[in-house]
């Protein structure tokens, strides 16, 4: 068989017939150039295949959640009831809704702080003359990462039991900051500094902790999970964020 790149490529990819393959095998025994080319090709392929890594589970989680959010947004677009609700909310207060729409495209999954961060955060929450908070609240607060803080070994959801209360925690990125959401079948205890929201049909409260704002809706009596949202943003904006995340 003749010495040509076309034959070589056909041999390497398996395009040759059995007879042609045998002929090319014979050619390789007598052609150092083709032999080297085959060896280099196989070595290069073997090297490249070293980069066949599996996608991390965190990426799969992120993709699934992004699709869920996209599906919900799509449902919003086609649901007459949702559209009516949006118009109603818009009539009541257009400005937060506009802000929310701008954010809608930017809400993102973010990472949770490492377990060590939880321990450190819990301890920090109780020092320096700060009014003690219930352990459940302090735990969620501690999971809000500091700006610019790189986190390793992240996950997109976490289950905790703090102060005898079972918590499911997820985090999102909103306008460049991380918001942490905890849900629980039990009610969240109210910090001393919190205030109940007047006129709310549910047992809802708001509070601040340094630069963090907290918004909680307790509704265990209705059979739904209670929700606590913590984020480093103005407390007045949290209900809109919670609504967008379908938490309320």
């Amino acid at each position: 068989m003749a010495c040509s790149e076309a034959n070589l490529l056909a041999f390497l990819v398996g395009d040759l017939s059995p007879d042609e393959t045998r002929a090319f095998d014979g050619h390789l025994l007598s052609c150092a150039e083709c032999w080297t080319a085959v060896q280099l090709d196989r070595a290069g392929r073997a090297a490249a295949e070293q980069l066949r890594v599996h996608a991390p589970q965190s990426l799969a989680d992120r993709v699934v959640l992004a699709v869920e959010i996209a599906a919900n947004e799509r449902a919003d677009e086609y649901s007459p009831n949702e559209a009516a609700n949006l118009r109603l909310r818009s009539a009541v207060d257009e400005r937060p809704l506009r802000r929310l729409r701008r954010r809608k495209s930017r809400i993102a999954i973010a990472s949770l702080a490492a377990a060590a961060g939880l321990a450190v955060g819990l301890s920090l929450a109780f020092v320096g003359g700060v009014e003690p908070e219930p352990a459940q609240i302090a735990a969620v607060v501690a999971l809000v990462p500091s700006p610019g803080h790189a986190v390793k070994n992240t996950t997109f959801s976490r289950h905790l039991v703090v102060g005898g209360q079972r918590l499911s925690v997820r985090s999102y990125r909103v306008d460049g900051v991380v918001a942490v959401v905890a849900t629980s079948p039990s009610e969240f205890p109210m910090p001393v500094s919190a205030h109940l929201l007047e006129g709310s049909s549910q047992d809802a409260w708001m509070a601040t902790h340094g630069s963090l704002a907290m918004y909680c809706v307790n509704r265990s009596t209705t059979g739904r999970d209670s929700m606590l949202l913590v984020a480093p943003m103005p407390v007045a904006e949290l209900p809109q964020i919670a609504a967008h995340l379908r938490l309320i």
Partner: protein, 173 residues
């Protein structure tokens, strides 16, 4: 989750590894790679009803390539991820020495890949790393299959030679 979303994920998530590998090697860093993967899936989700081809993996990789080429990806990106740890190229379960060595090799391979001409590098990424066939890659890149095979072959040879210069061989010399 509604039935459509579940059907989409059932069809596409098995190909996450392939999309991730391509994104990882055509993006500037792992963070933008993950952004690219997510945007690929969101675009695919939006167009899933119109996807009729039997090869979902090639369809996803094509979307990924098109997004990577498009500057519009940055403007339309919905999600940015908090910086995390870098990608670990080594499977779990191996001993520490092997893991360290494999990581060094992987880094050298990535560096060597970057020295290849773009066309050769992309052909290798799509075929040898993402696992597509030459025919699929030819369709993705809109060029003849023979051209893809030649690019891959020349890229592999160059890659092997570059690694050999660093004392990294894969059992042929």
């Amino acid at each position: 989750m509604d039935a459509n979303s579940q059907a989409f994920l059932d069809a596409t998530l098995p190909h996450l590894d392939a999309v991730h590998r391509v994104a990882r090697l055509i993006s500037r860093d792992s963070f933008s790679a993950d952004d690219l993967v997510q945007e690929t899936y969101l675009r695919a989700f939006a167009g899933f009803a119109n996807h009729v081809g039997p090869n979902t993996r090639a369809w996803l990789v094509t979307i990924c390539l098109n997004l990577a080429r498009s500057e519009g990806r940055r403007r339309s990106r919905r999600v940015t991820e908090v910086p995390m740890t870098t990608v670990d190229y080594v499977a779990e379960g191996t001993d520490v020495y092997s893991r360290v060595q494999a990581n060094l090799d992987a880094t050298a391979i990535v560096d060597a890949l970057k020295q290849l001409p773009d066309e050769q590098r992309l052909a290798i990424v799509l075929m040898d790393i993402a696992g597509n066939t030459a025919a699929e890659v030819a369709e993705m890149l809109a060029c003849p299959r023979g051209t893809i095979l030649a690019r891959v072959h020349r890229g592999r040879r160059r890659l092997a030679a570059l690694l050999s210069e660093q004392g990294i061989d894969y059992g042929v010399f």
